[in-house]
């Protein structure tokens, strides 16, 4: 029997809706609080809008977990239309509350419709990569056990590299993890942080540092090549580079360098509003799935 499957996710994906080729999808919006006022991502409230606020008004921004009522509303609206709901959630380590809400809603609907919560163990375009990986799976196979098992493989093989021009945004958001070691240097450094799918701790880790964006771009290429050699693979399945603006030259340099790596699905992602809270201007990320 062909199952009708609804996918739920949230808007910190590093992807625009047009880049997700699956019709049955609902995208929740993370609440973003800027100077105590709540906003949601829209055509008006974007990563660029927030960056300008950061630079010009020195605002303080943070995100909160997804809203439980909104998730229930989606489940309620769709419970009779689908056989299965798959919820691709951002890393449970990065947002315990969001994952707890997803879990709670799954339990609420235990006797109504099966819900699989997939802990992507990622943020930003890493979540996007896991989402697209899950879509690839369900297009070929709709056995629930297989979906769960194969999704885990996607998660374990998704790696996210971030270049953060200013770690204070991540620090203020409470997501700095082990990368805190890179803060407060007299010498201006640009750190490379990572969320590695095969890292059991699932925390943001420092992977390297450079003095210039060109240096860190070269280091990212080295890190990706090392990861490919470790696995080992010769071609990357999916690669998403997403820039948070105000750093075109560095982003172009990265794009040029990264195109030398063989890849089946190369995506230039979309900087999302919620992600911009933690990245700030001049940042960019590379998510790979292998």
């Amino acid at each position: 029997m062909n199952k009708k499957i609804l996918i739920i996710t949230a808007d910190n994906l590093g992807l625009s809706k047009e880049q997700i080729h699956y019709p049955d999808i609902e995208i929740l919006k993370f609440p973003v609080v800027v100077n105590d006022k709540e906003y949601r991502g829209s055509n008006e409230y974007t990563a660029q809008w927030l960056n300008e606020k950061y630079l010009k008004e020195k605002v303080v921004a943070k995100t909160t977990s997804i809203v439980k009522g909104e998730l229930i509303e989606i489940a309620e609206k769709n419970k009779d239309k689908y056989d299965l709901i798959i919820h691709v959630v951002m890393s449970s380590v990065m947002s315990i509350a969001t994952f707890a809400i997803a879990k709670n809603v799954k339990e609420m609907y235990e006797n109504t419709i099966p819900i699989i919560n997939i802990d992507s163990r990622q943020v930003l375009s890493g979540v996007g990569n896991v989402l697209l990986g899950v879509i690839d799976i369900i297009k070929k196979n709709n056995n629930t056990d297989d979906i769960v098992k194969l999704s885990q493989e996607v998660i374990q093989n998704t790696f996210n590299y971030f270049v953060m021009a200013d770690l204070n945004y991540l620090y203020r958001g409470g997501r700095i993890g082990k990368a805190k070691a890179l803060m407060g240097s007299v010498l201006r450094i640009t750190p490379i942080l990572g969320l590695m799918g095969d890292d059991e701790e699932g925390q943001v880790i420092p992977l390297g540092k450079g003095r210039t964006f060109k240096q860190v771009n070269s280091k990212i290429i080295d890190l990706i090549k090392a990861k490919m050699a470790e696995k080992p693979v010769t071609v990357i399945k999916r690669l998403n580079i997403t820039g948070f603006g105000d750093n075109e030259e560095a982003f172009s340099d990265l794009e040029e360098k990264i195109k030398t790596i063989p890849c089946d699905d190369f995506i230039i992602g979309k900087a999302d509003f919620a992600g911009a809270v933690y990245c700030g201007p001049k940042s960019y990320s590379v998510a790979i799935s292998i």
Binding site: D119, S185, E200, G202, P206, R211, Q215
Partner: protein, 603 residues
């Protein structure tokens, strides 16, 4: 047992508490470490093994994972992260136990089966297993457990009742392993095992027993003082200060069994002397005992390096194959296997040959080499260092500004020596202050290298010297460093990144001179040194910097100026440079170097 939703978090919390309990007793265990090599690290190795597993197995939610499965994952992580003989045997034991309780059946019968399997796994995985070691404690534990389970139903009570018995067994380990008896200690790994059981017991809300001990150096000092006293003239016995001390020495506090017994004998000798000088006890026998005991703490360490590695391979299918490849290089070989990964421990003189041979079969994921001779020297010395860290990076620089920069780039400590190069004694003191087993050290001047090498030989840590000769190399080193790497890989990566940053220095001539290519430099002129040669000079320093950048810039986009002491208070030269080179980025920092007015780097 724990069957709640967040059971993995609960188990982790309990394991963390047991780990902390073991950690508090780390030094006690270290001080018992005489077998197989008295290198004083059993406690550290056992704690690092559990700490490694805790670090690599987070309490993230796995919706389907059971308690047994979590414990099995944990034991696998212990194997991969195991350190030293005791850590390896402990993790083998935990692997065996977890293989049985993976079904989450915590009935007394299944636990008994688990304990049996744990013992078998540890015993079979140990090359040349010996009685009187942790293995004896593991066997006695399962046997006592089996005996008690006939009369008790509660697993927790059975474990509690086993502990006093195991403490008695521990006391008997010197009778089973002569080297322990000679040294006057119980087995360190066995003691660690009992402490872990006590930790488990405590977690189950049952009372604890305290351990304490004197450092080995004090034990040996008492030994030597007693020997000296006995070697003196009998007529002077009562005049000797130790004679006055001995009757009052609280020997119940002497946990070293052998010394305890010897002191009892000495006391008896003194009492007999006082009552009847003609009835001397066998003084020679006591002195011989003392010598034996001292010798047991000073054995000849034939194989210097405690070497460990993790090999990931699909070309090796059995532990025997690994034994064939590297068995010839040493002893104390322990090989663990988990999937396609092999964790190996060996004592050898040739760690490099071991690594070279096995790396032909796969990828070395982790390597570790400890100099046991050095650790032993530290262990028995009067100022023993209790190692608190596995590895540290230490830099030696002249400039205060560079000290701050390197510290903030991640150096664990930086010695700023100012104008006068540091003495060997100073460097040794700083190295020992780090309380680290393995130190990577680099200095900003090649003239420090000799002193550094000598200091390394005197320090209590394994010191890896980076033969750097300028401070920019140290920045380059710290920029590329990743402390997650094992010490060997970290050192290799440092050596590869040492010259990543191109730079030159600008200094002022103190006399008239002529360069290699015949150019004259007048006294007080400024000149540029690049790759050890003077390439440019000028009376005007700003002009010289301009010319230098023009001459040396290639594809770089960032120029960094590090100001030295002679120009500390001078205005920034960056605004002018920006006008000359609008396409470049400039940054300026205070380095505080004495010789050069400026260092200029190109990145």
């Amino acid at each position: 047992m724990i069957q709640t939703e967040n059971r993995t978090a609960v188990i982790r919390e309990r394991i963390e508490k047991i780990y902390k309990y073991l950690y508090r007793h780390k030094e006690y265990i270290n001080r018992l470490n005489v077998f197989p090599v008295p290198d004083g690290d059993t406690g550290l190795n056992m704690t690092l093994t559990i700490q490694g597993a805790l670090a690599n197995l987070s309490d993230y939610e796995k919706e389907t994972i059971s308690t047994g499965e979590y414990l099995k994952d944990f034991a696998e992580q212990m194997l991969i992260n195991s350190r030293g003989c005791s850590g390896v045997i402990l993790s083998l034991y935990c692997q065996g136990v977890s293989q049985v309780i993976v079904n989450s059946d915590f009935s007394k019968e299944n636990i008994f089966e688990a304990l049996e399997n744990g013992y078998q796994n540890a015993y079979e995985g140990t090359e040349n297993p010996r009685e009187g070691t942790i293995l004896t404690l593991m066997r006695e534990f399962k046997e006592k457990y089996g005996e008690l389970m006939k009369e008790e139903n509660d697993t927790v009570i059975i474990i509690k009742k086993c502990i006093p018995y195991l403490k008695e067994v521990l006391k008997k380990t010197p009778d089973m392993l002569p080297v322990l008896k000679q040294a006057g200690v119980v087995d360190s790994g066995g003691a660690g095992f009992v402490i872990i059981l006590q930790g488990i017991n405590r977690e189950l809300k049952i009372n604890e027993l305290a351990f304490s001990s004197l450092p080995v150096s004090i034990i040996l000092n008492i030994n030597r003082a007693t020997k000296k006293y006995l070697n003196g003239k009998l007529s002077n016995f009562n005049k000797n200060s130790i004679a006055a001390l001995l009757p009052h020495l609280g020997i119940e506090k002497l946990h070293n069994i052998r010394l305890h017994n010897i002191i009892e004998d000495v006391k008896s000798l003194i009492n007999n002397l006082q009552s009847n000088r003609n009835r001397l006890l066998n003084k020679k026998a006591i002195i011989s005992d003392l010598k034996d005991m001292e010798n047991s703490w000073n054995p000849e360490i034939k194989l210097k390096y405690c070497t460990e590695f993790v090999l990931e391979t699909n070309k090796i299918s059995s532990k025997e194959q690994i034994k064939e490849i590297i068995g010839k290089y040493g002893d104390s070989l322990i090989i663990l296997n988990s999937g396609d990964k092999y964790k190996v421990h060996i004592h050898t003189h040739k760690p490099d040959s071991v690594f070279k041979d096995v790396s032909k079969y796969g990828e070395l994921l982790f390597t570790k080499v400890d100099d046991m001779k050095k650790q032993h020297r530290n262990f028995i010395s009067s100022n023993t260092i209790d190692y608190e860290r596995e590895k540290s990076v230490f830099c030696i620089v002249s400039g205060e500004g560079f000290r701050k920069i390197l510290k903030e780039l991640g150096a664990d400590d930086v010695l700023c020596y100012g104008k006068n190069k540091p003495s060997v004694e100073h460097i040794v003191k700083e190295l020992n202050k780090l309380r680290t087993k393995n130190i990577i050290v680099a200095a900003d001047d090649k003239d420090i290298l000799m002193a550094l090498k000598y200091a390394a030989s005197l320090s209590k840590s394994n010191v890896n010297i980076v033969e750097s000769n300028n401070v920019i190399s140290l920045i380059s080193m710290m920029m590329g460093i990743s402390k997650e790497l094992d010490i060997t890989t970290l050192f290799d990566s440092i050596m590869n990144s040492l010259n990543d940053i191109r730079f030159c220095g600008i200094a002022r001539s103190v006399r008239n001179t002529t360069t290699e290519n015949g150019k004259t430099i007048n006294k007080n002129d400024f000149f540029t040194v690049y790759n050890g040669k003077i390439i440019l000079s000028d009376k005007n320093v700003e002009q010289l910097i301009n010319d230098t950048i023009e001459e040396l810039i290639k594809e770089e986009s960032l120029i960094t100026i590090y100001k030295g002491i002679p120009v500390k208070k001078q205005k920034s030269i960056i605004p002018k440079l920006k006008k000359s080179f609008p396409e470049l980025d400039f940054e300026e920092y205070y380095g505080g170097q004495y010789q050069y007015h400026y260092y200029i780097t190109f990145e």
